[in-house]
């Protein structure tokens, strides 16, 4: 494996000296190391983890400690537990309610969005019907339209239907993910061998049966990808609930935390930065858990299609 490279130099250009140095060929098990690349990735790692570290450290501080101590190190008193208790009990325990709301929006909204995307993507990938090109154009077009541009029309429409200020105003728009549909469409076209479906039909399976029994297991990696995307999107969704929901009882965590943060900018308001920080930390924990639990399905999905069976 460690045969030195003995290529004769074609010219005496600037690369000559480097060509002479012995170098192990790079393989999957023993990748070539590059100091520059390692440093760069390291920097990006620090850059990505710094806010998280800041959040973790500052969630342990008292309101006074937040301003009196160095931002990236712990204050004298360790108040993490007090802060967590205060976060869940402040203002009549409204934080728990917001957490439950967010879970509802994610389970029904993102779950429903994934289900619809799988059904639609599969149908578009497997069946031929007139107008498919038009559907394709609509889906691609929908991916290109920013959600923000649709917010006001959606608000006015929902307002006429009397759905604003109800959880439906958040759930129904979340059910539609053109990008998820497109992803599932492409994925289903690649992942499901037509021969398999043909043989299922020959064996007498109906379309519904072959979808659930044969296709769905094959679609798991793509499904998990769409699920993760729509979960994160719904969990972090701020703008849609902002314009739709007035009643704090239906706030998701994003709006609730912002409301707490805004108290500091209100004449006569109570400043609760420590609760905003602790609440933010609690808010990201379920997402981290979901990623850790679902990532193995996702990884197998990324590898799909890379090997000819």
């Amino acid at each position: 494996m460690s045969t030195p490279v003995t290529t004769a130099p074609r010219s005496k250009g600037p690369g000559y000296a480097r060509l002479r140095t012995p170098r192990r060929p790079s393989t999957v098990t023993r990748p070539r190391r590059s100091v520059l690349l390692t440093v760069l990735t390291g920097l990006i790692l620090v850059y990505s983890l710094l806010p998280l570290g800041w959040l973790l450290i500052n969630a342990t501080k008292t309101p006074g400690g937040l301003f009196d101590s160095f931002g990236l190190w712990f204050a004298e008193d360790f108040a993490l537990w007090d802060n967590i208790v205060a976060t869940f009990t402040y203002d009549g325990g409204v934080f728990a309610r917001w957490l439950a709301n967010t879970l509802l929006y994610v389970v029904v909204g993102a779950g429903g969005a994934t289900f619809l995307a799988v059904l639609g993507g599969y149908a578009l990938a497997i069946f031929d019907f007139p107008g498919k090109r038009a559907v394709f154009a609509v889906v691609i077009g929908a991916v290109a339209v920013p959600g923000t541009a649709l917010a006001v029309p959606t608000f006015l429409m929902f307002s006429r239907m009397g759905l604003t200020n109800t959880p439906w105003a958040v759930i129904i728009p979340s059910l539609i993910t053109p990008f998820g549909l497109y992803l599932m469409w492409v994925f289903a076209a690649q992942a499901i061998p037509r021969e398999l479906l043909e043989s299922a039909r020959i064996d007498g399976a109906g379309e519904i049966r072959s979808f659930f029994r044969i296709s769905l297991p094959l679609l798991v990696p793509g499904t998990v990808t769409v699920l993760l995307f729509s979960m994160v999107a719904t969990w972090n969704n701020y703008f849609l609930p902002l314009i739709m929901i007035r009643d704090p009882d239906w706030f998701p965590l994003t709006l609730g935390l912002n409301a707490w943060n805004a108290q500091a900018a209100t004449a006569g308001g109570e400043v609760v930065f420590h609760l905003v920080i602790t609440g933010s930390l609690i808010t990201i924990l379920p997402l981290i858990a979901a990623f850790l639990l679902l990532q193995r399905y996702w990884q197998s999905g990324l590898a799909a299609g890379s090997v000819k069976e």
Partner: protein, 443 residues
């Protein structure tokens, strides 16, 4: 630099709101009664029903509980739909949509004009509010009345005072200023003693500037129905710009955005030594700067000339009844209870600052020793300020929008060589142009 994303978003939001509100007053039809006698209101209370209140003021919760105990048939739901501009956006949207609005809404005095001009809030004079003038201190009462109508009942007020970090002033041997001239000297002295210490922070904040012009005797806004005059060339404005220009030129004010975490931090670590603001500030100080307890004190607002006793308001809000309210009698009964009845005492006990003369003059209120200010009887200073507020000030009928573009125009004076007076002129131009676009007769 000076326009934080949040502020920008707010500005855009407010702009949208005003456009929607003034061009598309959608709610026609039956808007309910415009007047009622005390007996009719009492009958409505006996009959019962439910009302929704949009407010962010924390002391209202207990007041609503008490009100419901007094009137068992009535249900009051307090909803915090956001503070300030967020709530106004929601309110104006509901008004434009013609549904989904509350029965009672908390509206700050500076923003009330926007809602009364567009007809979004009821004139309460027909319900008996016209007889309440003597109950309220002059600043707040003037803020809720205009064009012959009473558009809200004053809930609290913000007579201004100077909040300062006494320890810091003593440490550097600087006297607490009683005039703005002395304030300028104090700012220089603090900077000279420690370059990290600024007397205050300001990077162009509409609330502070307009309040100080108010105190200096300037009356830049004249409003009569839909005809508006804007003029920053009067003597009062000149008094303000003369001193403030020097503060800016000599870099004596810290360029921190108000109401941010940096701002609270600046007050906690001693880099912001004082604050000229409304009497509601103690609540923010005690929760936002807990480590400052015992160090901070209150002094009367510095005067523009020695021996004067001119005061101004900053902030404060009233409770209004939107025209689309489905239960105006109950709504009025509730705001009457909160602003003139027993509710005032409940709210005072919870830390609110009153707008009513009786409370502002009561011995118990005046002699209260505020623990955050080292036991100082600070209410006395606030009450004196409330009594001295000139009552001929008016805000624009679209002040919320005007304030949202303040930092983009006047803010330039803080970061470039543009003189403050010229920057105010730019604000005047932008605000005038906007007013014309909205159909106001701007002179």
């Amino acid at each position: 630099m000076n326009t934080s994303p949040r502020r920008l978003a707010r500005g855009i939001g407010t702009a949208l709101v005003v456009v929607l509100g003034l061009t598309a007053c959608g709610s026609g039809g039956d808007d309910g009664p415009t007047s009622a006698s005390a007996a009719e209101i009492q009958a409505a209370l006996d009959e019962g029903g439910s009302i929704t209140v949009w407010a962010w003021e924390p002391t209202l919760a207990q007041t609503a509980v008490d009100f419901q105990e007094l009137h068992p048939g009535v249900e009051v739901e307090i909803v915090n739909v956001g503070t300030g501009d967020d709530q106004y956006a929601a309110l104006q949207n509901a008004h434009s949509a013609g549904n989904g609005g509350p029965d009672v809404a908390q509206i700050e005095y500076f923003a009330l004009g926007q809602f009364s001009v567009s007809g979004a809030v009821s004139d309460l004079a027909g319900f008996g509010a016209g007889d309440l003038e003597d109950l309220f201190s002059p600043g707040p009462w003037n803020s809720v009345t205009g064009g012959g109508g009473v558009h809200a009942l004053p809930m609290d007020s913000g007579p201004m005072a100077l909040f300062y970090n006494q320890d810091l002033f003593e440490e550097h041997g600087v006297e607490v200023p009683t005039t703005w001239e002395e304030y300028l000297d104090a700012a220089r002295a603090l900077q000279a003693a420690d370059p990290d210490v600024y007397i205050t922070s300001d990077n162009g904040e509409a609330g502070l500037t307009t309040s100080l012009i108010w105190q200096a005797g300037g009356r830049p806004f004249t409003v009569d129905g839909t005809s508006v005059e804007i003029d920053f060339s009067d003597e009062g404005t000149a008094r303000y710009t003369e001193i403030w220009q020097q503060l800016i030129d000599e870099d004596l004010v810290s360029p921190i955005n108000s109401w941010t975490d940096e701002w609270y931090q600046g007050m906690a670590d001693g880099s912001i030594a004082s604050l000229a603001t409304g009497a509601w500030m103690p609540a923010n100080l005690s929760s936002g700067v807990p480590s400052g307890a015992g160090s901070w004190r209150v002094a009367p607002l510095p005067q523009w000339a020695a021996g004067e006793s001119a005061e101004a308001e900053n902030g404060g809000s009233g409770l209004a009844v939107p025209t689309a309210s489905g239960n105006k009698l109950l709504a009025y009964a509730f705001i009457d209870y909160v602003t003139t009845g027993e509710g005032v005492v409940t709210r005072l006990d919870a830390g609110a600052f009153p707008a009513t003369v009786a409370e502002l003059e009561s011995e118990e209120f005046l002699s209260a020793e505020l623990p955050y200010f080292g036991g100082q009887q600070a209410n006395q200073i606030f009450a004196d300020a409330a009594a001295g507020v000139a009552d001929d000030w008016s805000y624009l009928p679209y002040q919320a929008y005007a304030n949202s573009i303040f930092n983009d125009t006047v803010g330039q004076a803080y970061v470039s060589d543009l003189p403050l007076a010229d920057a105010l002129g730019r604000w005047e131009d932008s605000v005038s142009a906007y007013g014309v676009d909205q159909g106001f007769d701007v002179g």
